[in-house]
């Protein structure tokens, strides 16, 4: 609906089928997006506990918190069928990517809470999530994900493996020099890389209209001879069908693809954001395009599942998130002496 008309039921089932998706895939996508949504909403709730008046250092979760509510379709659509061996490099807003990559939710929450059972034993925190088993990494530095994913793609090409690397970044990060530099080298060296821009319209508080010379970033990719697509980031099927082509192309050795997904974050840049830079009407408009509700409606209209089944999936997702929270809450903190270890391998 953002850039393409909402398909008729007949066209929709054709689109789904031609993307190689089965009804069960749509239910899985729905389940994953819900897990992300509940995860983020629960983290948000816990984050604000003990922060009245607002103070980042108080409460159970300390520091900044960047949530991805609204952007679930981009993560799930892109990563729906990637392998554990495929590398994902994410950003300061990484939870949806991590969950979509299959990172263990228990360890994820534990890391966000600074517990020793966390992914990084409490040394990384919410912006620095790493999971070797899923080949997932992050950086809190804007624009840093592009070259790192390109490096992993380089390693795959060098080793003759048909894995791919995926860099996520916001539309603000794509104004960084690393974006242009990475497009250039990935194209020149035909690296198995997919660059995914999540265009949520604002770089922190700065509307893209004030800092971007082009309306979209995919235009920039074209000048580097990188196939570049604009997709509806609020439509998981649209994201998936494009990502699938990009991933296949990369696996076959034909080089990188740029995907720009138009999306929106329903919450502030970080928790505590007063959001003066955008209007309530705009948030409402984008809320009407909620990617989860949209998928739910399609599932029902296509008769892939009934309300009862969907309710069961919602319940499962809620429980998974609650279990992860409980696990993290009852986990111990690291021994302070651990701070002085592990600088060198």
């Amino acid at each position: 609906m953002i850039i393409k008309p909402e398909p008729s039921l007949k066209d929709l089932s054709y689109l789904i089928e031609s993307s190689g998706l089965k009804p069960s895939d749509l239910l899985n996508m729905y389940r994953r997006m819900l897990t992300i949504r509940y995860f983020e909403e629960t983290i948000r709730k816990i984050y604000h506990e003990g922060k009245n008046p607002f103070n980042m250092a108080s409460g159970i979760i300390r520091g900044e918190m960047h949530l991805s509510i609204g952007q679930e379709a981009v993560a799930v659509g892109t990563l729906y069928k990637v392998r554990d061996e495929d590398v994902v490099v994410s950003t300061h807003r990484p939870h949806h990517h991590a969950i979509a990559k299959g990172v263990d939710a228990n360890k994820l929450v534990a890391e966000i809470l600074g517990k020793v059972t966390g992914l990084c034993r409490g040394k990384g925190g919410h912006m620095h999530l790493f999971d070797k088993t899923k080949n997932f990494a992050c950086s809190g530095i804007v624009g840093a994900s592009f070259p790192q994913a390109a490096g992993a793609a380089f390693a795959f090409k060098y080793s003759g493996k048909d894995n791919v690397a995926i860099a996520f970044a916001g539309e603000g990060a794509a104004n960084h020099g690393t974006f242009a530099e990475t497009l250039n080298i990935a194209s020149a060296w035909e690296l198995p890389l997919i660059l995914v821009i999540e265009d949520n319209k604002y770089a922190d508080s700065t509307p893209k209209s004030f800092v971007m010379s082009t309306t979209f970033h995919y235009q920039r990719g074209l000048t580097y001879n990188v196939p570049s697509y604009l997709v509806d980031g609020m439509d998981v099927i649209d994201v998936y069908s494009t990502a699938r082509k990009a991933i296949e192309r990369a696996r076959k050795g034909f080089g990188p693809t740029l995907i720009e997904a138009l999306t929106y974050r329903y919450v502030g840049h970080f928790e505590g954001d007063s959001e003066e830079y955008r209007t309530k009407e705009e948030v409402e408009m984008w809320s009407s395009l909620d990617p989860i509700r949209r998928l739910e409606n399609r599932i029902l209209r296509l008769n892939y599942a009934d309300n009862e089944i969907l309710a069961k999936l919602r319940e499962e997702a809620r429980k998974q998130v609650q279990d992860a929270i409980d696990f993290a809450l009852r986990s111990p903190y690291p021994d302070p002496n651990e701070a002085l270890t592990g600088v060198f391998a």
């Binding site: 590398v87 490099v89 966390g118 992914l119 990084c120 034993r121 409490g122 040394k123 990384g124 620095h128 790493f130 999971d131 070797k132 080949n135 990494a137 950086s139 530095i141 840093a144 592009f146 070259p147 790192q148 994913a149 390109a150 490096g151 992993a152 793609a153 380089f154 390693a155 795959f156 060098y158 080793s159 690397a165 020099g177 690393t178 530099e181 990475t182 250039n184 080298i185 020149a188 592990g342 600088v343 060198f344 391998a345």
Partner: protein, 334 residues
């Protein structure tokens, strides 16, 4: 084999390790035909082709970031940072990622990356192509800082670096490279043909003495040795220590020597303040204060950029004469 200067020794070490380990690749500007300009990768292109030696675009942040990603995915990149002065263009990927990802990931992602960079002045290249800057890296947790001064050390230290799973920066001084287009103040020496390692964190006692200790690294070791010869003619017996690696630092050797001579001069081609001289002095006083006969002396670039004009450049980079004068003053001060 006889090797003149550190450049050939470094490229020899890389070549031999590349033969042993196919995970090693070379990335950087002009690393093929030009051997990274200062010769650190010379001969590798001829032997390994573009399959393992990659000329990158002039885009430091991106090829440093690629080294991070490639290391995480199992390679051991050798990255040429042509001049250390260019670190600003790629530093975020180095200090915020390469040096931290192992720690931040709770030990999941070691970062076996060997950066080789050219340092130093003394040949008229001015403020943006003559710096040393190793103290910046030594200040940031996560880097090992290697400063070879001889061909033997250069080969052994780089071999060691290429077998180490951590980010290591090798600082090769341009005036020690032995290349025909630069002045040469280094040595020619017999270097074993076979690969060998020189341990990190073990300083070399380059000259034994009893009256004072001169501590330095890189080019300054050679200038300190020449100053020590001059001091000898005055009847002053100077001990000269080559740190070899700033991280890890061989505290034991420097403290032992300070206790023995009671007088310490630290000579550094990096900037003076908040740098190597202050750090080494602190370590010594913490363990040998009572043995010191005079306050520790230091000689470094006096907190100004390296100027262009020859007399100006000579006025800031420690020379043999100035090391000699400082050492004499220190000795006579007791």
């Amino acid at each position: 084999m006889k090797i003149r200067g550190i450049a050939q020794a470094i490229s020899e070490a890389i070549k031999q390790e590349m033969e042993r380990n196919d995970r090693i690749v070379v990335l950087g500007e002009d690393v093929t035909y030009w051997g990274a300009v200062f010769g650190f990768t010379m001969g590798l292109f001829e032997k390994f082709d573009r399959k393992r030696v990659f000329d990158t675009p002039i885009a430091e942040q991106t090829f440093m970031g690629m080294a991070v990603g490639a290391a995480a995915a199992g390679l051991h990149p050798v990255v040429s940072l042509m001049f250390v002065d260019f670190l600003g263009a790629g530093f975020d990927q180095m200090y915020n990622h390469m040096a931290k990802n192992y720690y931040m990931s709770g030990g999941q992602f070691p970062m076996p990356v060997t950066i080789i960079t050219a340092i130093g002045g003394g040949y008229g290249d001015s403020s943006q192509h003559s710096q040393v800057l190793y103290s910046l890296f030594a200040h940031l947790p996560g880097f090992k800082v290697v400063v070879p001064s001889t061909p033997y050390d250069a080969k052994g230290l780089v071999t060691k670096a290429l077998r180490d799973p951590n980010p290591i920066v090798v600082f090769g001084h341009k005036l020690l490279t032995g290349l025909p287009f630069l002045p040469f103040e280094g040595t020619e020496e017999e270097v074993p043909d076979e690969p060998y390692e020189v341990e990190f964190g073990k300083a070399a006692l380059r000259r034994e003495g009893n009256d004072l200790t001169i501590i330095s690294a890189g080019l300054m070791v050679h200038r300190s040795l020449r100053a020590a010869e001059m001091l000898q003619q005055d009847g002053i017996s100077a001990e000269v220590i080559d740190l070899r690696t700033l991280i890890p630092l061989d505290e034991e050797t420097i403290v032992k020597s300070a206790k023995k001579t009671g007088r310490v001069l630290i000579v550094d081609e990096d900037y003076m303040s908040y740098g190597m001289t202050g750090e080494v002095a602190f370590r010594i006083q913490a363990k040998a204060l009572k043995d010191l006969k005079v306050p520790i002396g230091r000689l470094a670039v006096p907190d100004v950029p390296i100027p262009f004009s020859e007399p100006l450049e000579n006025a800031v980079i420690p020379s043999i004469k100035r090391i000699y004068n400082e050492a004499r003053k220190l000795y006579q001060g007791s």
